[in-house]
């Protein structure tokens, strides 16, 4: 059974369309990255999962439980790090976790949870005195309580330092190992790239792409950039390189003593062989793969 099923969900706020006929299925055991610039509607969809927002059209379900009509059943399968929460100022970190344990009828040691998210030392401090990053860790800890089948994390890395971001990644991997499905949103691409099996790109309320990272790369052209350091390069050679199948463009970069080529992944070897046969001395080379960033820009500028 699919962990998340979203069918034709739309949500309008006045004249603003937050979600426009979104269809999405996330399979059990998948790590799904939900990408989009700020204000694209990512949190709105997550709020539909939690029944904070009622869609104007369509439906969403978590493990087959309708998010609106069976919200408690749906939520009992989820661990959630929501957007725009506030912690209880007067309760300690440990009390927060104890509260989550009680709510989910889980059997786990609060200190073990706090240890996992790295705030064990602050367990008995009031959460009102926590920094943004500590509060974020605390709420992530609450989400992990009870080994939920689905983790929904809304911008989990916001407010965290690089060390914290790495810890989040570790947690996501550990959860996947355990068999959980992870759905997390981010506007930061490399974070998604690092841990996700599949990504969806939301732009202006529309899901403009859903694919694996690799698939997305290919659909954007799958171009690889080759940076080849050479002793010299004549224009004639570059023309020959450009005529090869799979090569998009080749041009000299005299300042860096380089020839730069954009081509498909498969054509890389052909390029090097052609240069070599033409008597060009290849001193070094490296490749730059199209980053998710470029893909992202491509999708989000082409969609409007």
């Amino acid at each position: 059974m699919a962990a998340i099923t979203v069918e034709n969900v739309s949500k309008r706020y006045g004249t603003v369309t937050a979600l426009d006929r979104v269809d999405l299925t996330v399979d059990e055991g998948e790590v799904f990255g939900f990408l989009g610039p700020n204000g694209a509607g990512k949190s709105t969809l997550i709020n539909v999962f939690l029944d904070f927002v009622q869609p104007d059209d369509g439906r969403a379900a978590i493990f087959g439980h309708d998010c609106q009509s069976e919200s408690v059943e749906a939520k009992s399968r989820m661990g959630v790090l929501p957007d725009g929460y506030t912690v209880y100022d007067r309760l300690t970190g440990r009390q927060h976790v104890e509260y989550a344990i009680e709510a989910k009828e889980a059997d786990v040691e609060p200190m073990a949870v706090l240890d996992r998210v790295g705030i064990r030392d602050a367990a008995d401090q009031r959460a009102g005195g926590y920094s943004k990053g500590m509060a974020q860790r605390l709420v992530l800890g609450m989400a992990l309580v009870g080994e939920p089948d689905l983790l929904v994390l809304d911008e989990p890395t916001s407010g965290l330092d690089p060390h914290g971001i790495k810890q989040i990644r570790t947690v996501i991997r550990e959860e996947r190992e355990r068999g959980a499905t992870v759905f997390f949103s981010s506007h930061i691409l490399e974070q998604v790239e690092a841990v996700c099996d599949r990504v969806g790109i939301l732009y202006d309320g529309e899901l403009v792409a859903t694919d694996t990272i690799e698939g997305l790369r290919q659909s954007v052209g799958g171009t690889t950039k080759l940076l080849i350091t050479v002793d010299r390069a004549e224009a004639g050679v570059l023309e020959r390189v450009e005529s090869l199948a799979g090569v998009e463009r080749a041009w000299p970069n005299p300042e860096a003593n380089r020839v730069e080529v954009t081509c498909s992944n498969d054509a890389k070897m052909d390029v090097l062989i052609t240069l070599n046969e033409a008597g060009v001395d290849i001193e070094n080379f490296r490749t730059e793969e199209a980053s998710l960033e470029e893909m992202f820009v491509e999708y989000t500028s082409g969609a409007s």
């Binding site: 506030t86 709510a103 609450m142």
Partner: protein, 189 residues
């Protein structure tokens, strides 16, 4: 609230939890205070009818539940915490301060122009008597004070009796919070 509702709780759980939690908090204080007051009555005077006394305590607790319910209802109808607080105090101010003043002003006005002599007519009293503060007063006077005075105790109209005041009082404990919940159930957070 976002954090609470991210856990497997429904919005109804949230509302019921708030109402019960807050009501219990002040009920505990109130019962303790009334127990001391009761003891002080028993010690010098030697007698207190426990049944009536418990009824009085229950009625007073219910009085608190009503205002807790109104406060929760107001907070469910608005997103802003400030508005919610202002609304809850506003409701209290309306019932305690403005309501009585309005009634006195109306009575004074009608008497000045010569339409009434002394008390307001029964239907007007019924309207003014719908206020939970007045209802509480009427119930205490009607049930616990022998030969109680005041316009309600002295009137013979059936709809001004304490027996009708009791269900009205109960309705105040249920209706505002139920109305707030029904609105809150279908709003986006």
């Amino acid at each position: 609230m976002t954090l609470l509702l991210s856990l497997p709780y429904s919005r109804r759980d949230l509302v019921v939890g708030k109402l019960v939690g807050r009501s219990l908090a002040f009920a505990t204080t109130l019962v303790a205070a009334l127990a001391v007051a009761g003891a002080l009555v028993v010690y010098p005077f030697g007698s207190l009818s426990p049944g009536w006394y418990l009824a009085f305590v229950a009625l007073t607790v219910l009085y608190g539940v009503i205002f807790t319910g109104i406060a929760i209802a107001v907070s469910m109808l608005t997103r802003s915490k400030h508005l919610a607080t202002a609304g809850a105090f506003g409701a209290y101010g309306l019932f305690v301060l403005i309501w009585g003043t309005a009634r006195a002003a109306l009575a004074f006005g009608l008497e000045t122009v010569g339409l009434i002599d002394g008390a307001l007519p029964d239907p007007a009293l019924f309207l003014f008597g719908l206020n939970p503060v007045t209802l509480y007063d009427r119930l205490v006077t009607g049930f616990f004070v022998d030969g109680g005075a005041g316009p309600y105790a002295e009137s013979s109209a059936w709809y001004l009796s304490e027996w009708l005041a009791l269900p009205l009082f109960l309705a105040w404990a249920v209706v505002p919070v139920a109305f707030g919940y029904l609105r809150f159930r279908n709003t986006d957070l």
